[in-house]
């Protein structure tokens, strides 16, 4: 058994060191002394760990264990053994390295007895709650549950950070006279997004079998729940997930606002603020959960065998095609297309855009890494690698594509390329092998440059390249799962087209209605003056003198 083997190997190693240091006889005596102490420590600590891990991994093999979405089942025996081996190595090495400073063994024993007595006394004072009863005698399960839960929470916080990234990218790639407006839209979207998701979206997207129209549409409702009693216990069972209901909600809520933020960048510098707020709210509340439920809520796309790991289609293509619909109804910014020529409207801060993309990259570790839906060591690290490699490959590919096509390496294209690679790998981050992930990123990086130039050619004005990055590369990434990952090509094509068309058509209706009722565009005068003054009566940089 691995445990004995490691223990023997470490003991032999320490024996050799001691013999070398102290001579043969004294070394053997010292080793024997050490051996006793190791055995005692092992009994106290490592065997405890082994004892609690073993029944857990046996029981998880017997029952269904955690949701089949994770790869936990297959990995537990290996990770269990590794954990024991690791703990044992620590136990063996620590006294060997520091035995000179340690108190005599008697002192340790007395101390630990004292600690145990105090704990028992403290527990006796209050009756255990239902949650405490649920975990009683299942320390290892509780530990694993806590680790899983904590990782998804950290991932949720990382996805929240992506909204700072979006804010920075969008304000960097637009003019300084519209910065307050761009930032305001980002603030609104993240605040609104999480609240409407709590009020309606979460339960509409994850109906748990309670469909209004089977597999296609479910009504939403506010999230409910308690942190104590039977309800809290139900949220802790492996029937739910290897994390709590609250964790599940907050992770998904951080995703929901992303779809509207993608639209926000594409329509920047000319959309009326109230019109954007109304349209974005309708889209995030009602539309995003519908196509989301088709796959992640186990609707018709999931039945079809469609694969979208973290949302190349469900989040990014959805946002990208809604943005396309909005831009088509809105028209180009004034001065972008004059006399049939493309006149660039320069972003006002390349450093800000770069900071934004790096923040988005950081957040993507949570976006994809959290979508493992557990802290499974193998899967989370694998997803980190595929995600990062694809993002870097996308950045390089877009750099060189712009260098070749445009004669100069364009920073904004390189930044778009990093995002394109990340969007591309999002659907298959858990199933596409690392070098195929690089290929997915490279193709996304080339695609995004060509796509940005093509949209300019057909007079679709997208200041930040959101339609190309999220829409086109979202499609590509989803199809790539059919080529290099765990999906079937035809199903992938059907799935990504279905969501893209759904998003485009419904966004066209929403923005069309808003246009008819409220109007979409600010006046030409306001556009020239800047939306900061026009919509907000504020400046982003008071006293700032622009270069023009």
């Amino acid at each position: 058994m691995g445990r004995m083997w490691i223990k023997n190997a470490v003991t032999a190693e320490i024996g050799a060191i001691l013999t070398g240091e102290l001579g043969s006889t004294a070394g053997k005596v010292e080793l024997a002394r050490l051996q006793t102490r190791i055995d005692r420590a092992e009994r106290r600590c490592a065997c405890d760990l082994a004892r609690i891990l073993l029944p857990f991994h046996l029981s998880s093999q017997k029952s269904e264990g955690f949701t089949p979405k994770t790869h936990m089942l297959k990995k537990i025996p290996l990770s269990g053994v590794l954990a024991v081996a690791f703990a044992l190595t620590g136990v063996v090495l620590t006294p060997a390295l520091s035995f000179a400073q340690e108190p005599p063994p008697g002192a340790i024993a007395a101390e630990s007895v004292e600690v145990v007595t105090t704990e028992v006394a403290a527990q006796a004072e209050t009756a255990p709650t239902e949650v405490e009863k649920f975990w009683e005698g299942r320390t290892a399960e509780l530990a694993l549950f806590t680790v899983n839960n904590l990782w998804i929470l950290i991932a949720a916080a990382l996805v929240f950070l992506m909204h700072l990234g979006f804010s920075a990218v969008e304000s960097g790639l637009t003019q300084s006279k519209n910065t307050v407006n761009v930032l305001f839209k980002n603030v609104f979207v993240v605040c609104m997004g999480a609240l409407v998701y709590a009020a309606w979206g979460f339960n509409a997207m994850y109906p748990g079998g309670a469909w209004t129209i089977q597999g296609i549409f479910a009504l939403g409702s506010p999230i409910m729940g308690s942190v104590s009693g039977a309800e809290a216990v139900a949220n802790l069972t492996s029937d739910y997930a290897p994390y709590t209901y609250w964790t599940d909600f907050i992770f998904q809520a951080m995703f929901a606002a992303t779809a509207a933020t993608i639209i926000s960048g594409a329509v920047a510098e000319r959309i009326k603020l109230p019109s954007f707020m109304v349209a974005a709210t309708v889209i995030v509340t009602f539309l995003y959960p519908i196509s989301g439920s088709w796959q992640w809520g186990k609707g018709w796309l999931a039945d079809l065998g469609f694969v979208d790991f973290a949302g190349s289609t469900l989040v990014h293509a959805f946002g990208g095609y809604a943005a396309l619909a909005a831009v088509m109804l809105l028209g180009a910014r004034k001065g972008k297309f004059v006399d049939g020529k493309i006149r660039p409207i320069l972003g006002h801060s390349m450093p800000l855009a770069t900071i934004g993309v790096f923040l988005l990259f950081l957040g993507w570790f949570g976006f994809n890494g959290g979508s493992v839906l557990s802290a499974d060591p193998i899967m989370v690290s694998f997803v980190f690698v595929t995600t990062a490699l694809a993002g870097f490959a996308g950045g390089l590919a877009a750099s060189f594509t712009s260098w070749i096509l445009l004669k100069k390496p364009d920073l904004s294209m390189a930044l778009n390329g990093m995002l394109a690679g990340l969007v591309g790998i999002t659907a298959g981050a858990d199933s596409i092998a690392p070098w195929y992930a690089v290929l997915v990123g490279v193709i996304a990086g080339v695609l995004v440059v060509v796509s940005v130039l093509a949209f300019d050619k057909i007079k679709i004005d997208d200041p930040v390249g959101a339609i190309s990055v999220h829409g086109i590369c979202g499609n590509w990434g989803t199809i790539a799962v059919g080529l290099f990952g765990s999906g079937a090509l035809l199903t992938q094509v059907i799935g990504t087209l279905a969501v893209s068309i759904f998003s485009f058509v419904t966004a066209l209706i929403v923005f069309g209605l808003v246009k008819a009722v409220m109007g979409l565009r600010v006046s030409p005068d306001e556009e020239e003056e800047g939306l900061d003054i026009g919509e907000h009566g504020q400046e982003a940089y008071p006293g700032f003198v622009p270069n023009k």
């Binding site: 493309i342 006149r343 660039p344 364009d410 904004s412 130039l453 300019d456």
Partner: protein, 112 residues
């Protein structure tokens, strides 16, 4: 008294300032300006679309000095700012009627 307005390349400012300081000139005003002469502008590219930048960044130095210092100051500026390439800039000289030091009410050459 005379006023020298010199339009120079931005990275030549330090050398010109030092050359003037060596002559004992104790003050000057400097402004970042944009403009073009025979050098004209250049084209830049943003997300695949080219555009021309007509106004290039330059530095304008303004120095007011006594007539006696004029020739040596001009020589110092021209000597320090010259690269021999197009876009080195220009020097303009104009008469100044009066100068007043606000703190002391001194006037004329004593004030510059």
């Amino acid at each position: 008294m005379k006023k020298i307005e010199a339009i120079i390349k931005p990275f030549k400012l330090e050398e010109v300032k030092n050359a003037l300081a060596e002559l004992g000139i104790e003050g000057m005003s400097v402004t970042e300006v944009k403009g073009f002469g025979r050098q004209k502008g250049h084209t830049e590219i943003y997300r695949g679309s080219e555009y021309t930048v007509d106004f290039l960044p330059k530095i304008k130095i303004e120095v007011v000095l006594a007539d006696s210092l004029l020739d040596s100051a001009i020589a110092a500026i021209v000597g320090a700012a010259k690269t021999g390439k197009i876009g080195d800039g220009k020097v303009f000289v104009s008469p100044v009627e009066e100068a007043i030091r606000i703190r002391t009410d001194e006037t004329g050459e004593r004030a510059v």
